[in-house]
């Protein structure tokens, strides 16, 4: 049941992505409305799928990597719809939805994220917070890509599609900053809980686990960006580059969770 719903939801995201990209190029208002409608419909189906799964499992659907990624996608889409509505950034979907689709496509067989020794409410909180943080940082990445594209247009002085369809640099810079400011606390808290958990459950904070190590690196990149922004100077292009580096490390983290043996892999 939930698998069928999930498949339909993913197809919905794919359709929404196509429409959003078409809107980016064509700038036809109708395409934007259809994209929004497809996104919302797919998201509702996704919600039902996740609820069904949680009900069947009798626990939050966060214990395996595919489950966790699916929840992350769900949060990404919620954030995308919310920010788009609030800021009128109608092309946001074209940059966020493709990432959501790529995430959804990960099709590794269910591997338990949590070893048999691990369970309990704090663990769900650890995973949940980290996922919300990651979702916000997906939007941070999308904002950075949009910023670099628009900046490139303005520097080369040859207005093309992106010049016309993307908003102003200041708007995009604000978007990357705000999504970072939103995602970072979640990521931080999620990681701290994870470290504390590791200390008690694995006996040591510094056991070798690819996912954990990689996420520390990602955290460090984001922390540096945020510090740079707060103390001045770091913004615009530099901040955008850091957002992309941070996101790349984050992807490595998820990849590590999916493919490398480690404590997260179970």
């Amino acid at each position: 049941m939930h698998q069928t719903l999930l498949t339909v939801a993913i197809i919905g995201y794919v359709v929404a992505t196509g429409l959003a990209l078409a809107y980016l190029v064509q700038r036809e208002e109708l395409l934007h409305r259809l994209a929004s409608l497809a996104t919302l419909t797919a998201w509702v189906l996704h919600t039902v799928a996740l609820l069904t799964l949680a009900f069947n499992l009798g626990r939050p659907p966060l214990a395996s990597m595919p489950e966790a990624v699916s929840v992350a996608v769900w949060v990404v889409v919620v954030l995308e719809m919310w920010i788009e509505r609030r800021s009128g950034l109608s092309v946001l979907g074209a940059f966020v939805l493709p990432v959501a689709v790529v995430f959804s496509m990960q099709s590794t067989p269910t591997r338990s994220l949590i070893g048999p020794t691990l369970s309990g409410a704090w663990l769900w909180v650890h995973i949940g917070l980290a996922l919300v943080g990651i979702a916000a940082l997906v939007l941070n990445f999308a904002g950075a890509v949009m910023y670099l594209l628009q900046e490139h247009q303005l520097r080369t002085k040859r207005p093309g599609t992106f010049y016309y369809s993307l908003p102003a640099l200041a708007t995009l810079d604000r978007l990357t900053y705000r999504t970072l400011a939103l995602g970072f606390p979640f990521l931080t808290t999620g990681l701290i809980l994870g470290v504390l958990w590791a200390g008690t459950a694995w006996g040591s904070v510094f056991t070798f686990d690819p996912l954990a190590l990689s996420s520390y690196v990602a955290w460090a990149v984001y922390a540096a960006t945020l510090a740079g922004r707060a103390t001045g100077g770091w913004h615009g292009r530099r901040a955008a580059y850091f957002a992309i580096v941070g996101f790349a490390v984050l992807m490595l983290t998820l990849g590590a969770g999916l493919f490398l043996p480690g404590k997260h892999g179970g």
Binding site: R27, E28, E29, Q150, L154, R155, K157, R158, P159, G160, Y163, Y164, P167, A168, L169, A170, T171, G232, G233, W234, H235, G236, R237, R238
Partner: protein, 422 residues
């Protein structure tokens, strides 16, 4: 009775001819009265701008009306009719409607999407109205043309992007800073063009404005006209640190603003972007300045390039606008057609109903003892016959009006059923 538009425009007539024919407002009143007096048109509107002279009219005999109208126009302007005749185009009925919509929507303009034409069409309409030359047909055509023009403007981006250098600069500033509210502007040098660009920026909320110039008096003068502040010329780099947008237009032979100067300025700005609009030739801002982080530097050629891209963008949008206009023309004609045939349908019904009622009354008078059921049956029978007979002609009238050629059918129905014209 037929609608037509006839005239010449920048598309097929050289400016020499257009300016010979162009009519100013007072002369236009005279001309409209003259044409009305000739009695060949029922309704007429004349649109005269520097890019077109066109007559929109409704006449019983369009060919004759057209010839007479232009003969009078040529006589008024002292132009030889034969020289005009070759350049004239004429559209009738649906094509005339489309032309009116395209002109009002600025699709037929020299610069597609330019905003003045709609105002000019509105003026021509108002003028003809004040001369009592506008009747129901042109009234509905023109009011619909205004509505379509508005729709084209809001539903396509035909007029969205700047096609002048000064507006292109404003548009670029918005692509960098988002809103321009509270963004400070510095004018280096005081030319007409930089004044214009500064005015556009101020209209968008840019504030405050600083002006600097080698000649102090000139700086003060320009600062006064722009309600800004004059800054001594040797404090240029201090002023650069305080503003977001710089417009340069001095006559200096060498660049005034070099890379080193801007680099020093940028150091203290904590990443606030700086946008140079350099409209001076030779340039006032060194080309290398543009390679600095958070500095955007557009010279006059760059701005022209943006204008060219915007023009291409307008052409692209014009295709969408044409499709929109096609739909609007169809809707207008359908509505118009119905409006035309409805009086005939009504009088046809009234006529048959009168016959039916009269005959029923006579029949019932001859059947005094008939029970109510019989009376009702007779009523129902006669009504059914009338409706059956009416069905085909009414359908045909509606169809012909949708196809755009109801006149011959209208005449035929009037003739056959002995209807009188209202």
């Amino acid at each position: 009775m037929a609608l037509f538009v006839s005239g010449l425009s920048h598309r097929n007539a050289p400016v020499e001819l257009r300016e010979q024919l162009a009519v100013d407002e007072d002369k236009l009143r005279e001309l409209l009265r003259d044409i009305a007096a000739a009695g060949v048109v029922r309704e007429v509107i004349i649109l005269s701008t520097c890019n077109r002279v066109e007559v929109y009219a409704v006449a019983d005999v369009p060919g004759e009306a057209r010839a007479t109208t232009f003969r009078r126009l040529c006589r008024h302007r002292g132009v030889e009719p034969s020289s005009v005749e070759a350049a004239l185009y004429t559209y009738t009925e649906g094509d005339a409607v489309r032309h009116a919509f395209r002109v009002a929507s600025s699709l037929d303009s020299m610069v597609i999407g330019e905003p003045q034409i709609l105002g000019q069409v509105k003026d021509a309409f108002a003028l003809a109205q004040s001369c009592e030359a506008v009747g129901p047909a042109l009234h509905s055509l023109f009011t619909q043309a205004f509505a379509v023009a508005k729709k084209v403007r809001t539903e396509t981006e035909i007029a969205r992007h700047a096609v002048s250098v000064s507006f292109a600069a404003v548009e670029l500033a918005k692509k960098i800073f988002a809103g321009l509210e509270g963004k400070a502007v510095l004018l280096v040098g005081a030319g007409k063009m930089s004044e214009l660009a500064a005015r556009h920026l101020v209209e968008q909320g840019a504030f405050p404005v600083y002006v600097t110039n080698r000649t102090w008096a000139r700086a003060q003068e320009m600062a006064r006209t722009l309600s800004g502040t004059a800054v001594p010329f040797d404090e240029l780099s201090t002023a650069l640190a305080a503003v977001e947008i710089v417009i340069t237009s001095t006559g200096a032979p060498e660049p005034l603003i070099g890379r080193d100067m801007v680099q020093r300025v940028m150091h203290g700005r904590r990443g606030r972007p700086l946008f140079f609009i350099d409209i001076a030739v030779p340039r006032d801002v060194d080309g290398a300045v543009g390679s600095l982080d958070d500095v955007y530097c557009y010279d006059i050629d760059d701005l022209k390039q943006v204008v060219d891209a915007n023009l291409r963008e307008r052409v692209r949008e014009a295709h969408r606008a044409e499709a929109l206009i096609d739909r609007e023309v169809g809707k207008f004609l359908a509505r118009q057609g119905d409006v035309e045939v409805i009086p005939t349908i009504v009088s046809l019904r009234e006529r048959l109903e009168a016959i039916r009622a009269g005959e029923v009354k006579r029949t019932l008078a001859r059947l005094p003892g008939a029970p109510p059921e019989t009376r009702e049956a007779i009523e129902a029978l006669s009504t059914a016959i009338v409706n059956k007979i009416l069905h085909a002609p009414i359908t045909k009238l509606r169809e012909s009006s949708r196809a755009g050629s109801p006149r011959s059918w209208l005449d035929l129905v009037h003739e056959l059923f002995g209807l009188t014209r209202r």
